[in-house]
């Protein structure tokens, strides 16, 4: 069984991490001048660009306008060179459309959409390199871009994955672990209130395992949230000092 190689006898994972260890996160904000907000985020080898435009007037079909809140529009695309095998269509296929819908729902729960009736907020995410946890990296990057854009949020949204190998929960699953046949639980939470805004599971496992895998994922979310908070604060202090210097 492939599960044996995913977790060594020493209890280390295939990339040398401990079961509860996250991949390295790097993030920079405000990388595009034209977008209202933008961010670049790396989670290990998964690399994502996010750009936010708006809130602005509804574009395209007017029927999308909501009279009491803003309409959140997401576009998920993966670069043709992002995976081992070259991709034909960067966006518009069934998988990307589904991912866009999931992102829209996640952010509609986190953005204070009631402040901007009849307007639209656009979120564009592009996966440059896919190494597992694409949805997770997209949520985290888009959240940083929303913060950079100054869009009011109820809370930061953070996302993390967890898996189960040999009854040991693993956090922040990479591509090898994911394709190795182990289940993947994806969770997005609002870390301050602890609300779960998105949750999905790729495979079945016994329900007895669910609570510990979920706890691992939520712990991962909170850790990522803390890291991203520090990055946000660092970015703000940098902005603040550069403003005072000028």
């Amino acid at each position: 069984m492939s599960g044996n190689e995913l977790l060594s006898d020493q209890g280390l994972r295939i990339d040398g991490r401990k079961p509860n260890e996250l991949r390295r996160i790097r993030c920079s904000l405000g990388i595009f001048s034209q977008a209202d907000g933008s961010a670049y985020l790396e989670q290990g080898n998964t690399k994502v660009l996010a750009a936010v435009y708006g809130p602005h007037e509804i574009r395209g079909s007017k029927s999308k306008a909501l009279h009491d809140k803003a309409f959140v529009n997401c576009q998920y695309s993966t670069a043709t060179f992002s995976m081992g095998e070259r991709k034909r269509r960067p966006r518009g296929d069934r998988k990307s459309t589904e991912m866009s819908t999931h992102l829209e729902e996640t952010f509609a729960a986190a953005i204070r959409t009631e402040l901007y009736p009849r307007s639209q907020i656009d979120i564009f995410v592009e996966v440059l390199q896919a190494d597992g946890g694409n949805y997770t990296a997209c949520v985290n990057a888009a959240m940083m871009a929303l913060v950079d854009a100054g869009v009011p949020l109820k809370d930061t949204v953070v996302s993390c994955t967890a898996s189960l190998v040999k009854d040991v929960p693993l956090v922040d699953v990479n591509h090898v672990e994911r394709s190795g046949g182990s289940p993947e639980l994806v969770v997005s939470i609002l870390p301050h209130s602890g609300e779960i805004v998105y949750m999905s599971l790729t495979q079945r496992f016994h329900i007895d395992h669910l609570s510990k895998v979920l706890d691992t994922a939520i712990k991962g979310c909170k850790d990522i949230g803390a890291i991203l908070n520090e990055i946000m604060k660092g970015h703000l202090t940098k902005l603040d000092t550069s403003l005072q210097a000028s």
Binding site: H67, G150, T156
Partner: protein, 205 residues
């Protein structure tokens, strides 16, 4: 903000609790109340100001300008873009004193140009394309544009250029004159009062 307060610069992130929301502390821009606490909804610097009534206003300022959307009853500044006998199309540029990052579309119907003799209004004698007008948002209208009104003395054209291209001076409430050519043109002129466009006589929506 006094210098003392700006020294201890407190940075907060969305969802972070700032303080208890009670009679003494009130949340301002960039905050909202959740479970009895004032919570930040932006990443930025906390600004604390004490008001005249001894209450303390908590605000969060981010570096980026916060965008607003027009709501019913607001006075907006708009540029006339298109005119026909029934209505004028406008691009809303400012809401109250906040400049919008992007213009919103507005529509000013013939019936809403002035309060009296509504049926004798002729659009071409009230506005020209490129005029800057003050108007009040009547309603959110249909999906396409906001419905505007200039049916108040304080609302109407504030900046207009003559055919020759110079800014005109108002002479009376229906006319403006070019200071170079002395040609008079017809407009629905706003009686601009310094800093007082009262919200008391807001039109019933």
């Amino acid at each position: 903000m006094t210098n003392k307060e700006s020294d201890k610069c407190l940075i907060c992130t969305p969802g972070q609790r700032i303080c208890l929301s009670d009679n003494q502390y009130i949340g301002g821009a960039g905050t909202y109340t959740r479970q009895g606490y004032i919570t930040s909804c932006l990443a930025g610097v906390v600004k604390v100001t004490s008001q005249h009534d001894k209450r303390i206003l908590i605000e969060v300022r981010s570096g980026k300008e916060q965008t607003v959307v027009p709501s019913a009853g607001d006075v907006v500044t708009a540029r006339v873009t298109q005119i026909n006998p029934r209505w004028a199309r406008c691009a809303i540029l400012c809401v109250k004193d906040i400049v919008l990052a992007e213009p919103f579309r507005g529509q000013l119907r013939k019936e809403d140009v002035r309060a009296t003799e509504k049926d004798r209004v002729e659009m071409y004698k009230c506005f020209r394309p490129n005029d800057i007008i003050l108007a009040r948002v009547l309603s959110l209208g249909d999906a396409h544009s906001y419905v505007l009104s200039t049916a108040e003395n304080e609302l109407g054209v504030v900046i207009a250029y003559s055919e020759e291209g110079t800014p005109m001076v108002p002479v009376g409430w229906q006319e403006m004159q070019c200071p170079k050519t002395y040609v008079k043109e017809l407009r629905k002129v706003a009686k601009v009062l310094p800093e007082t466009i009262s919200n008391e006589n807001a039109t019933g929506v």
